[in-house]
């Protein structure tokens, strides 16, 4: 019943690289995020025009391509206030989406940024949203690469200092709160970057797969939208329409997403949500330690039930016990090693195929055999944020397509951890995730997921229960956390579900804003002051 639609060819040279590429997957394990205020339109436009020539695009790198993978990448995003300072005509400004124009702080009540997540607690730089105009994100393969790119940015900022100022006021691990940038980098273990975040989970596994990116077709497994076929096979998945993630292309509703005018301003661009999320590592570890002793499967199993993945990344719906998850991880490592050890030739291709098959198990699954949640709880983080067709609640063909309630709520996740955990029992200090979510519609995608699926539960028939890990749990009058979660048991059988209570807020907002990520063409238009919607 799905509508395959037609293939899409994208002009990848016109699209900023962070939209199509998750840089951290290409070994860019360091990043620096820098904010700017524009006080003079002309200087600001010069700044943007200069940056446009250096911006990293989505053009493919490496084999079969003319482009070499650069040491560092540079991308530019603009706020609504920034677009106004850059002199966009009012007629154009009014065509941007209302939530983007309002900004993250104004949408705080929707996002659940209350109590310890409130703007009073944000890094100083994020507390003056009217001054935040431009965001430059730099990713690098090494610290040196970051320094070089940062020096370039500082240099052109100097050149346009008549009207462009780098904003200070980011907190850093040394306790300063006036830093000129936010640093972020992959967590290193034994000196090697890893895909871990500060609660110890492997992150960055699941991401949407959409038409036209040139990504390997196998990646549609788990990344696309579910069909009615077996989710462990290619037939179980179809690519999402491009317009869910890029303006100017047809979306899942078979139309062009609402986009700014003139069309060249919007096309090949998208919106981006930036959130600095602090992780209360001490509270999280204490909770797991305490409740983990009562939970039948123990502490690691409890952590897996929270996330929907074991800390090694194995999905708990497919690998319900720790032993199975461990065995899978070892098979996977062995298969990976085998590729490295096999000389080129048919044997190596075979090893690669075997590895790909194992690797797919991380993503090629759904919850159709696990509807009551005895494997992956209905309220687990990854099941909430991507229910993969389970919202049909097993009523096959209740909806015209199985993924109906999911397909328009997908987000491209980017970003990296920041800071480091010095004492695993301590909440304070600088450690968390710089979370970025890209999509064609902030309200329908990110805000919906954040409000309805993370901080509420009615769509899952879970009442007001929130996401165990990132929900904005409150406090009871006795000062305890008020977060709850049901960890379902096998229905029938007579075993009780495990009820977690007293969860405090494990994740708190420390800043953020809504941005527009223009195409290269749009950056030039803006830089040259040529935007004219008539």
């Amino acid at each position: 019943m799905s509508t395959p639609g037609s293939p899409v060819t994208l002009d990848l040279h016109d699209i900023q690289g962070n939209i199509v590429k998750a840089y951290s997957r290409y070994d860019y394990s360091h990043a620096r995020y820098v904010l700017f205020e524009i006080t003079d339109g002309q200087a600001g436009r010069g700044f943007i025009a200069t940056l446009a020539e250096r911006v990293t695009t989505s053009a493919p790198w490496g084999r079969g391509s003319t482009e070499e993978r650069p040491e560092s990448t540079l991308n530019v995003a603009l706020t609504f206030a920034g677009l106004r300072m850059l002199g966009l005509p009012q007629a154009s400004l009014l065509t941007f989406s209302p939530e983007f124009a309002t900004g993250m702080r104004g949408r705080g009540a929707i996002l659940g940024d209350d109590g310890p997540s409130g703007p009073e607690r944000w890094d100083p730089v994020w507390r003056k949203p009217h001054r935040i105009h431009v965001l430059i994100t730099i990713n690098g393969v090494s610290r040196d690469a970051i320094e070089t790119a940062y020096a370039f940015v500082t240099d052109i900022t100097g050149r346009y200092r008549a009207g462009v100022r780098c904003l200070t006021g980011h907190r850093d691990p040394e306790g300063r709160n006036d830093m000129p940038y936010q640093a972020a980098s992959a967590i290193e273990i034994d000196g090697k970057p890893t895909p871990k975040e500060h609660f110890g989970y492997t992150d960055g596994i699941g991401n949407p797969y959409f038409k036209g990116t040139g990504e390997h077709p196998e990646n549609v497994l788990g990344g696309g939208k579910v069909t009615r076929r077996d989710a462990t096979t290619r037939a179980g998945w179809e690519p999402l329409e491009t317009g869910e993630f890029l303006l100017g292309y047809k979306d899942e509703a078979q139309e062009f997403p609402e986009a700014p005018m003139p069309p060249l301003l919007g096309r090949n661009g998208t919106y981006m949500v930036y959130r600095k999320l602090h992780q209360n590592v001490g509270s999280f570890n204490r909770y797991l330690d305490a409740v983990g002793t009562e939970y039948p499967g123990g502490k690691e199993a409890l952590a897996a039930k929270f996330a929907g993945r074991w800390r090694n990344g194995a999905p708990v719906t497919t690998f319900p016990t720790e032993a199975e998850a461990e065995a899978f991880a070892q098979q996977w490592m062995a298969a990976k090693l085998k590729i490295q050890q096999t000389p080129k030739g048919p044997a190596r291709e075979e090893a690669k195929a075997a590895f790909a098959q194992l690797n797919a198990k991380f993503v090629a699954f759904d919850y159709s055999k696990d509807l009551p949640g005895a494997g992956c709880p209905v309220g687990a983080h990854i099941r909430r944020t991507n229910p993969r067709g389970s919202l049909e609640f097993g009523e096959a063909f209740a909806f015209d397509t199985r993924g109906a309630l999911t397909n328009r709520r997908r987000i491209l996740r980017r970003g990296l951890p920041y800071g480091s955990v010095v004492d695993p029992q301590d909440d304070t200090g600088e450690h968390g995730i710089v979370f970025m979510a890209l999509g064609a519609n902030i309200r329908r995608q990110f805000e919906f997921v954040q409000q309805q699926w993370v901080n509420y539960g009615n769509d899952f028939r879970l009442g007001n229960d929130r996401d165990p890990i990132i929900g904005n749990h409150g406090t009871t009058p006795e000062g305890k956390g008020d977060g709850r979660m049901t960890i379902e048991a096998e229905p029938g059988g007579g075993r009780p579900p495990f009820l977690c209570g007293g969860m405090p807020r494990f994740v708190e907002t420390r800043g953020g804003e809504y941005f527009f990520v223009p195409s290269i063409t749009a950056l030039r238009l803006i830089g040259e002051g040529m935007v004219d919607p008539t």
Partner: protein, 235 residues
């Protein structure tokens, strides 16, 4: 406008339809309620954000008048009245409908004047907006409950009552076993219930102003003008 009460959002949609076409729709409304065809409503039932939904045809002569002094209106069309209460915001609801059961919507509305089809979504949004009658008064008896909460509460109450009488004289071990079985049976009904998340910032701002006005009014002990005035009336 109080389209929102507690966890519910009210939508009244009145769409014109040629009189002779309306007859077909009447038959269709009747047909889908017959048990044998009830599968066609499964999508609606599975969309558990919906609290309540009802379709009816109002003939040109059937519109009520306040009293005899109100002149009769001369109407060209019959009207299809769609009345729905749901959890969440307008956009969330309209989007979910359009994406989950577009063929069902097309079936129920394709005879209506100006129906654009349920997909693409933007023309569908405009059609709904154009034909929607804003609610003037809206009341919720259970402001903290969505229909899922009510259904769960009913199941828990029933199971608990029967459990209490069943286990009155049980030994501790048997009781524990029975209790665990009860929890297992009710595991999908044990979530907490709390006020709704903010559905719209505009609505939250109105509520906040009303609260402040009420407080100020209490202090001055003077009557407050009804906060909601104007708007069209559905009756």
């Amino acid at each position: 406008m109080p389209n929102i009460a507690g966890k519910a959002f009210a939508m009244n949609l009145i769409t014109p339809i040629e009189r002779w076409q309306a007859a077909f729709n009447k038959i269709q409304f009747w047909a889908i309620r017959q048990p044998i065809l009830s599968f066609s409503l499964r999508g609606l039932v599975t969309l558990s954000m919906i609290h309540y939904a009802r379709w009816a045809i109002v003939q040109p002569t059937e519109w009520p008048r306040l009293d005899e002094s109100q002149p009769k209106e001369k109407l060209h069309y019959a009207y299809q009245l769609f009345f729905s209460n749901f959890n969440g915001s307008w956009a969330q609801y309209v989007d979910s409908f359009s994406v989950a059961i577009p063929s069902g919507l097309n079936l129920l509305w394709f005879r209506n004047v100006g129906w654009p089809k349920a997909v693409p979504e933007q023309p569908f949004h405009r059609y709904v907006e154009h034909n929607e009658v804003w609610t003037s008064h809206y009341y919720s008896a259970y402001p903290m409950a969505a229909s899922n909460d009510v259904k769960s509460a009913q199941r828990v109450k029933q199971a608990l009552t029967s459990f209490a009488s069943r286990t009155k004289d049980m030994e501790a071990a048997a009781f524990e076993q029975a209790y665990n079985e009860l929890l297992n049976e009710l595991q999908a009904d044990l979530s907490q219930m709390a006020p709704t998340p903010i559905v719209s910032l505009a609505n939250a701002a109105v509520e906040e102003r009303m609260r402040q006005d009420a407080e100020a009014g209490d202090e001055q002990d003077s009557g407050r003008a009804p906060a909601m005035m104007g708007g069209s009336h559905a009756e």
